[in-house]
Symmetry: C2
Subunit: 346 residues, 2 copies
């Protein structure tokens, strides 16, 4: 690489506007002293924000984009008419080789469509997937797909397993990550044709992973496996159900602690402990959605992202760019295909 | 009814054995002074347990069944060879008109198979579903299907909506329950063909419900609608993911409160409030799975049920028997079919 590692940012994507993006940059600059940043969006607005932070000088460039993708825009509409948007420009910088990774807090469907169109899919992979990192009793588990595909065939689930395994390898440093397929029971005969077919293929594969078989919904938070594979319909619903449950419990907790004088005193005394708890459960510490299977690294921040979560999305994107994840995905997928065709010939 | 309302119980079904069933009976007797109970299982064991509680005399009968269904038995195996089991006998009592409802904490798949075989499906409904009651910010929401069918067509999802609406009506007393279909987004174009087709049918129906459209995973705990409709694959995974999340948060909470002396003192002082919280989140207060769409009421308790949860499953079953839920399901389904064929003719 003749230039420094560069992060391309859709500065107009999130609900909160470019202000939080610039605040996130200030955090990220300190953590990644060698990295350059490219901001796409309204020039006037961005220059005004950037100029407030002298530290950003020489580390951040601004590129003008006149349009922006709205949260309610259909992906097909953005593909036809979105070439002037900050999202399109952010992906295009990666395509043109000006940047190594792209980050956006914008419309997920549009970002996936623009990324697929601009960057293309990794050879040997049929469909990209969105991965997320889930906090567990044992640490962290990767769950994918959480929303790119509303349906997935057995072969596509196998692709997701390959991508998840590669991600666990390069990001968590695991030599042989354990991989499970999300199902309604752990017995072999359970589930629909897609999960049964995928399990069959993975059981006979020689990938650098330990295939665990089926896991159930409660196994995600238990940390039973390092990688949980599912289709984007189920994965998205599981993720949002978990978020809803966490919020419900938080509300219960506030109610019960406020109900009595002793509860209020207890909450005050225990406030340090409760803060630790909140930090562990803070969705802002979560990088959001990681797009896997594209010729380029794209990370999707939550639409409601603040500076903290935007900065952690940058951390993740930078780690992935450094680790060269796609090299491993391609190698594993090809090795698997070769083994399968050898087995078919024998 | 010439005889008293009677509850038929598979006393050998749960992991904990018949002891907790008899303890649950002692609780239920007080709450339902007019109800009779029929226990199916090992005669010697059951008589010994029942004789310890003089209050049970005259309210509980024991019927001998020599076999029991194991948790790992396949439903097809139980259908072929399970006629001597306590589960089969429990359902058969409802079929023979000796009892009005059946309860088991045994193998869910086997219980559904035996129930379908023994009782048959309500006229006009294509497949039964398992419903559960979910605690929410606003109170409670019914979610179905949580595990009877790994796939569901648009028409089947509509059946689930009808059954959920009827359940919300008779159990929660709601005149026009709000109903939503679980999806990956709330916009009309989102999701797979089944959810889009079902939404289309429900939008044009004249059922006594308010069709809300699509809801997302986080809407369940938010209490956005009274009834959430989904296929049994997604519903089962959402339910178990929520359980896993609650357990994870509980573990985090214990860890953070124990970490510091102040946290420990705070937890002691706040222990009353934390107890209230635990009570609200106690899965034992949840009745388990309610089988809807069968010619008879069947309630499935958690396999790991204790006396408290077994007793709340009995409460639910007794309420459903009193309310005659199937009359409403049939009426609503028929009204809907009639309206649809009228619309087709016009």
């Amino acid at each position: 690489m003749t230039r420094a590692l560069t992060v391309s940012i859709d500065a107009m994507g999130g609900d909160a506007g470019p202000g939080i993006v610039v605040d996130a940059l200030v955090r990220a600059l300190q953590r990644h002293p060698q990295v350059q940043f490219l901001l796409h969006g309204d020039e006037t607005q961005l220059h005004a924000l950037v100029s407030k932070h002298p530290k950003l000088q020489g580390r951040v460039s601004v590129k003008h984009a006149s349009g922006r993708v709205a949260m309610e825009d259909k992906p097909s509409h953005v593909l036809r008419r979105g070439r002037d948007t900050s999202m399109w420009h952010a992906i295009d910088s990666v395509k043109q080789g000006e940047a190594d990774v792209a980050i956006s807090a914008g419309n997920t469907g549009a970002l996936m469509a623009v990324s697929m169109f601009g960057l293309g899919i990794v050879e040997g992979i049929s469909r990209p997937a969105i991965a997320t990192i889930w906090p567990t009793l044992k640490g962290q588990t990767i769950v994918l797909d959480v929303g790119a595909n509303v349906e997935a065939s057995d072969e596509q689930l196998v692709d997701f397993a390959v991508m998840g395994e590669a991600f666990a390898h390069v990001i968590f440093g695991l030599e042989r990550p354990t991989v499970g397929i999300l199902n309604v029971g752990s017995e072999e005969q359970k589930g629909n044709d897609a999960v049964k077919g995928a399990a069959q293929i993975l059981r006979n594969s020689n990938l650098p992973m330990a295939f665990h078989g089926f896991v159930e919904g409660n196994d995600i938070a238990k940390g039973t496996v390092d990688v949980v594979v599912t289709d984007g319909f189920t994965g998205n619903i599981a993720l949002k159900t978990a978020e809803g449950t966490a919020r419900l419990i938080g509300a219960y907790m506030r109610q019960s602690l406020k109900r009595s004088v002793l509860g209020r005193i207890g909450a005050m005394v225990a406030s340090g402990a409760l803060k630790t708890l909140r930090r562990k459960l803070d969705p802002r510490a979560n990088a959001g959605g990681i797009f896997l299977g594209l010729n380029g690294v794209v990370v999707k921040c939550h639409g409601g992202a603040d500076a903290i979560s935007f900065a952690s999305a940058m951390d993740m994107a930078i780690d992935m760019a450094k680790a060269n994840i796609n090299v491993r995905i391609t190698a594993d997928r090809n090795a698997m295909r070769a083994a399968a065709s050898q087995a078919a010939q024998a």
